[in-house]
């Protein structure tokens, strides 16, 4: 296992810039998620790290060794990388065992014990070894692909949206198995994903990419609580964004006077709240009043869509026990502090 350092990487396809000046450091043994909407360049970055493509400018270092840039280009096969593509990419002409052992030295390929140990590492029954890839479920294929990637003890494991083709129930289970296997192997890992819940729950560091640049690199909690700008804020989770006026360190908004997470000069700002910070009370209570426009019920919790008399619409996340009905009038309370975005940081999400 090794650390990964990407410095000033730039890449264009033809006249289209895909990555511009990306810096990223993944510490040894760390699990970093590259999060971004489709077309943000995250898969390209992964391919540059893997060595399937060369950067136009900038360098890639794995374990302190420069593998790309500065006049060097180490081919993919000499980078000691484990690569888990979308939908697994298992070789269809080989059995599960043949796939897992593919990257092992010739003498070890016949070692059934080795294959069994690797399958066990990813939580699969060794009895699957003689199956063909098409006889496996999607989740099993992903796990075999991970076992194959881990077999040669790579210094770095790259996962390219490995869970996006799985259905919801299988995804949760496969994520857990993959995370456990990566921890057990002590591997440094980079996961590409467009699913913010996946990035936040699996990684210990999340890099948000937007339009080919890295906008924020932080641990999941920091990212969720203190996003760089409103665009990142709305991308990593549901948001309530309100216009407010800061006076004396507190924001005066349509939901009342709010405490602030960080100091902010007086003047007009936009403030960010998360829907789970809102609490609803009876219409007769104190606080700003709102009308319930609708309720999206998910079982474990619910999203209540609300509208202020001024016409401003927003949502609250509530536990599923005691919910208002559409058309009810309620009062809105706020837990915790709001995050202010003055001036330039207040980019309005597209």
């Amino acid at each position: 296992m090794s650390s990964l350092t990407v410095t000033g990487v730039t890449k264009s396809y033809g006249a289209t810039p895909v990555l511009t000046g990306v810096d990223l450091h993944v510490p040894e043994g760390g699990f970093t998620a590259l999060l971004g909407p489709s077309g943000c360049g995250k898969t390209t970055l992964l391919r540059l790290v893997a060595g399937f493509d060369d950067p136009d400018r900038g360098t890639v270092e794995i374990g302190g060794r420069t593998v790309a840039g500065a006049g060097r280009s180490v081919p993919a096969r000499r980078r000691h990388i484990g690569f888990v593509p979308q939908e697994g990419g298992l070789f269809p002409h080989l059995s599960v065992a043949g796939n897992v052992a593919f990257g092992l030295p010739r003498r070890q390929r016949r070692d059934a014990g080795r294959v069994a140990a690797l399958l066990e590492l990813v939580g699969l029954d060794a009895a699957l070894a003689e199956r063909s890839p098409h006889q496996l479920s999607g989740g099993q294929q992903q796990r075999v692909a991970l076992a194959r990637a881990l077999a040669p003890a790579p210094s770095l494991v790259l996962l390219d949206e490995p869970f996006s083709s799985l259905d919801a129930s299988l995804r949760e289970e496969t994520r857990q198995a993959v995370a456990d296997a990566l921890t057990a192997a002590g591997a440094t890992a980079v996961l590409v994903t467009h699913d913010q819940a996946e990035a936040l729950s699996m990684a210990d560091q999340v890099a948000v990419l937007r339009g080919g640049t890295l906008v924020q690199l932080a641990d999941p909690r920091t990212l969720y609580r203190s996003p760089q700008d409103l665009d990142v804020a709305t991308f990593v989770g549901e948001s309530v964004v309100l216009d407010a006026d800061v006076r004396g360190g507190r924001a005066h908004s349509a939901l009342g006077v709010l405490d602030l997470d960080r100091t902010c000069p007086d003047g007009p700002v936009r403030v960010l709240l998360r829907p789970e910070q809102l609490r609803l009370g009876p219409a007769a209570g104190a606080g700003p009043r709102a009308r319930v426009r609708g309720v999206d019920f998910f079982g474990h919790d619910a999203r209540v869509r609300l509208e202020l008399p001024s016409g401003v619409e927003f949502s609250a996340r509530l536990e599923g026990w005691d919910l208002p009905a559409a058309g009810d009038d309620v009062t809105v309370g706020v837990l915790g502090a709001a995050l202010p975005f003055p001036g330039d940081d207040a980019r309005v999400p597209a």
Binding site: P75, G103, L158
Partner: protein, 490 residues
């Protein structure tokens, strides 16, 4: 490049003869007569094949007819009988068949599976939910067929019909035997009479224009083919339509079709085998000819598949104008009837490489031009099965380029290459026209031996060669019945 030789040859000859010469050669009553004959036969055959093909496909796929799987096999089986063998079977029984009607009958019976197969595949791909929806909207049974099914079958039907038309244009053996003159047979006679006059070339030019016209239509259709395939996922099987009182006539109709297209030729072959055995079957000659044919076919299969590999690879991996042009040009080259290809290679080899005239390599070149598209279609599909992703994954696992080729790429391509080679192999076994013109003296294949015997009216002596050809073609029919769209395209 090789594929464009015949085309270049005809153009060069026409330029040499000059416009006045061409006018003199082309605008004469004989050509008009041939054009009339050819057009009549093409139109008649296409119409009959379309009716028979669609009708049979509907009965097999959508009606509650008993034994539908068996009928499917029986309806594809006529493809195992080469058209010229079919023609021999009929004319040897009924010598009076050398008329337009006879030609129409024989050619239709040989080629209707070309329509039947794609239409069956299209029927299978149709989502019955659409028909249910239409019925829900109040449409009657025939209205559902006309307004819902037929439009969706259009591409398959037109594609199959064009294939039939191209084959009829290029058909030589069957029509020569029935003494029904078309462009192809006239070119052959002209060539035999004057060896290689501009007359044959001018006729070839007209034939070429007709074929290219059809090919262009085919290419345009190929572009929209995806439309017929959309529901290709595993659609819910529809409820078969009960035929009621119509079941008996339907069975009789299918039975009659199978009897005419399969039982008559096979029966006739059997009859001549029995009669011929009295005139002592020359076993050693038969064995030697079979050996020669198999050898030629094997070499041609390997060479053609090897040539198809780079084109198929480029067409998938390096999608671009050059690759597309390359791929299309092979189709272009081989929409050219075999007779024109053979004529071109005779002339070119005589003028440019006299030492190669009537040698095996020239014959192999003709086979390669003729059957390259079949190989490309399968190779291309195989390359599509091996996306670059596997290469990347193998590289990340430390595998070198040579190692990747051996352990990943070749194993993935092998089935496709094998299928392509098999298709070419089986096509060469029954190839007649180019073989007649190009085979070195003393080299006889099953087809040419059959031809010389049956031309001399020695029907009994011809029968064993035909039987071997039919037996060898049977596996190709299995391949074709599995995937209607693949391999059919000539």
């Amino acid at each position: 490049m090789l594929a464009l030789v015949p085309l270049a040859f005809v153009v060069a000859e026409v330029v040499e003869v000059g416009w006045a010469g061409v006018r003199e050669l082309v605008f004469r009553p004989r050509v008009a007569e041939l054009l009339g004959n050819t057009a009549q036969l093409v139109v008649g055959t296409v119409l009959l094949c379309a009716v028979l093909g669609v009708g049979a496909a509907w009965l097999v796929e959508r009606s509650a007819l008993p034994g539908r799987r068996l009928w499917h096999v029986l309806l594809v089986a006529p493809l195992a009988v080469p058209a010229f063998v079919n023609s021999y079977a009929w004319i040897s029984l009924l010598p009076g068949l050398d008329t337009y009607g006879g030609a129409l009958l024989v050619v239709t019976l040989s080629y209707f599976p070309f329509v039947y197969l794609p239409v069956v595949a299209a029927f299978r791909g149709l989502d019955p939910a659409l028909e249910d929806t239409a019925r829900g909207l109040g449409l009657s049974g025939p209205a559902v067929f006309r307004r819902v099914q037929l439009p969706q079958l259009r591409v398959a039907l037109l594609g199959g019909s064009l294939l039939v038309a191209l084959h009829v244009l290029a058909e030589f053996g069957a029509l020569q035997m029935l003494r029904y003159p078309t462009f192809t047979t006239a070119i052959y006679d002209q060539y035999r009479a004057t060896f290689n006059g501009p007359g044959a070339t001018a006729l070839a030019g007209v034939l070429l224009l007709l074929s290219l016209g059809l090919l262009l239509a085919e290419l345009r259709l190929r572009g929209v083919r995806g439309y017929a395939r959309t529901g290709a996922g595993v659609a819910r099987a529809g409820r078969p339509v009960r035929l009621g009182a119509l079941a008996v006539p339907a069975l009789l109709g299918l039975g009659g079709l199978v009897a005419l297209s399969l039982a008559v030729p096979l029966g006739s072959l059997a009859l001549w085998m029995v009669r011929g055995s009295s005139t002592a079957l020359d076993r050693s000659a038969l064995l030697e000819t079979t050996g020669t044919t198999l050898g030629l076919a094997a070499v041609a299969a390997v060479v053609t598949t090897a040539m198809a590999l780079p084109t198929g690879w480029l067409a998938v991996r390096a999608r671009g104008r050059v690759a597309t042009l390359l791929e299309r040009s092979t189709y272009l080259g081989s929409s050219v009837p075999a007779i024109v290809i053979a004529l071109a290679l005779v002339t070119v080899s005589l003028e440019v490489t006299p030492w190669a005239y009537q040698t095996v390599p020239v014959l192999l070149a003709a086979y390669a031009i003729l059957f390259l598209p079949r190989a490309i279609v399968t190779v291309r599909a195989a390359v599509e099965q091996a996306p670059p992703l596997y290469d990347d994954v193998a590289a990340s696992l430390g595998s070198s380029a040579a190692d990747r080729l051996r352990r990943v790429t070749l194993p993935l391509l092998a089935p496709g290459l094998g299928a392509g080679a098999a298709l070419v192999f089986l096509a060469v076994v029954t190839e007649l026209t180019a073989t007649l013109l190009l085979a070195p003296i003393g080299t006889t294949t099953l087809a040419s031996a059959f031809w010389s015997a049956s031309s001399a009216l020695e029907y009994g002596a011809a029968a064993p060669y035909a039987v071997v050809m039919v037996l060898l073609s049977a596996p190709a029919t299995v391949l074709l019945s599995r995937d209607a769209r693949r391999g059919l395209t000539t």
